[in-house]
Amino acid sequence: MIDRRSRAVALLPSMGSSTPGLITRFLEWFGDLGIFFWRVVRAAVTPPFEFRELFRQLDEIGSMSLPLVALAGAATGVVLSLEARYSLTRFGAKSLLPAAIVFSVIHETGPIITGLVVSGRVGAGIGAELASMKVTEQIDAIEASAVNPYKLLAAPRILACILVLPLLTLAADLCGLVMGWVAQALVEPLSFHQFISSGFKGADFNDLLPPTFKTMVFGLIIGLIACFQGMRTRGGAAGVGRAATSSVVLSSLFVILADVVLVKLILIFFP
């Protein structure tokens, strides 16, 4: 008993010193992120603008993510259809199936699946690319050439993420709805027109637009965190790996947390 207590007491000082240390590091990280964001905003609104790089990033982030997002959206539609059919049939509400699929897809699963898929693909890509440039001094070379790396590298990537996320979300929504209908039609014949008109009965633009446009915030989070983690990397190949991993983990985490807040705000402002 004494041994166990003394061991527990011995742990306390280390916990005491590590917990404030962790909090300090967390606050420092947030502070650095804020400074980084401010530099990017200032660079982004000051001419000359890097339109060519922005279009390249729109293609890289948007076009290249489309197949993955579409596939994820389609798979979600099928799963939702199968699960909702089973549950609603049990409670005698099978007629609500199209509405359940439509509302689930456009309100939540489409946007969050898109956010998470993009944070995985694009977050890792941006984090690793910029980290690799950082450790091989390419970002320093850009700066030494009197070119602002926040303007050339970070701003176009973050802006592309913000612009592309709502479009990818619409694609995920569409694929989810089509495959949700296919999954249902395979069990019980139902035309797509019937499925859509029944599903969207009572829906208005407030059901589609706020959940779709909230993904612009996801885009900001993914682009910002991936650029930040990439451009502050240190330590060779291991640093590149850490930057890629932390970009994905942190951006996914913050996308989920932001979703909680945004859903609440949407319910308040667009009831």
Binding site: Q138, D140, A141, A144, S145, A146, N148
Partner: protein
Amino acid sequence: MDTIDQVAEKRAEAEEDARAQVIAVDDLHKSFGSQTVLNGISLTVSRGETLAVLGRSGTGKSVLLRLIIGLEKPDSGSVRIHGQDIAGLALDQLGEIRMKMGFLFQHAALYDSLTVEQNVAFPLQHHKKTMSKSEQGDRVKELLAEVGMEGDLNKMPSDISGGMQKRVGLARALALEPDILLLDEPTAGLDPISAAEIDDLVLKLQAEHHMASIVVTHDLHSAKTIADRLALINEGNVVIEGAFEELQRSDIEFVREFLGHS
């Protein structure tokens, strides 16, 4: 007591000195955590002059170059470029000064997703927007010809050797016709023949462009070949500064030891 003419003459001389001193580093301190890297270092380089900075590994030679171009901020002390203190300048203002400087990184730091031609064109595309594409192309070819790389325009950095990468890095550093050239270990990792070629190239460029240059190197032979003056650094400060012969005549134990082992 000085007459008005004498005072004016002295002031003119002082201004002339300040103008001639293209780079002036004064009492520069830099630490990373608890490790002091530079401890009050002071140096000056004039137009057309090449200073070689020598010292053991980890003595802050590369950090000194990064401080001069503003990639690191000093803890205290000043770096003056053409008489202007770069501390506290905004990124845009610093950019104006950086356009007068060319920097060759230790590992060349070529943009690995761009071809040799695009690497050299990069500064021109961003700062010489009045130049047409064909003018930029001609200038790139001219720069690459100057460093003997005109036949490798479309190669990727990964497809050329370390020595060739340094040549391309040098061409990129010269793209904006700088009046300051900073070279970080230009001959490190190269075979003796490639190192001698880089030395000859630096000498040729120096004669043609008449820049103020700082060369950080371990290579005493290279330093002796390309520099007008040498500065030996130890424990974050300059131990001795002067022509190679002055270093050879020195009684300082560290200097003798360094020259003996080089």
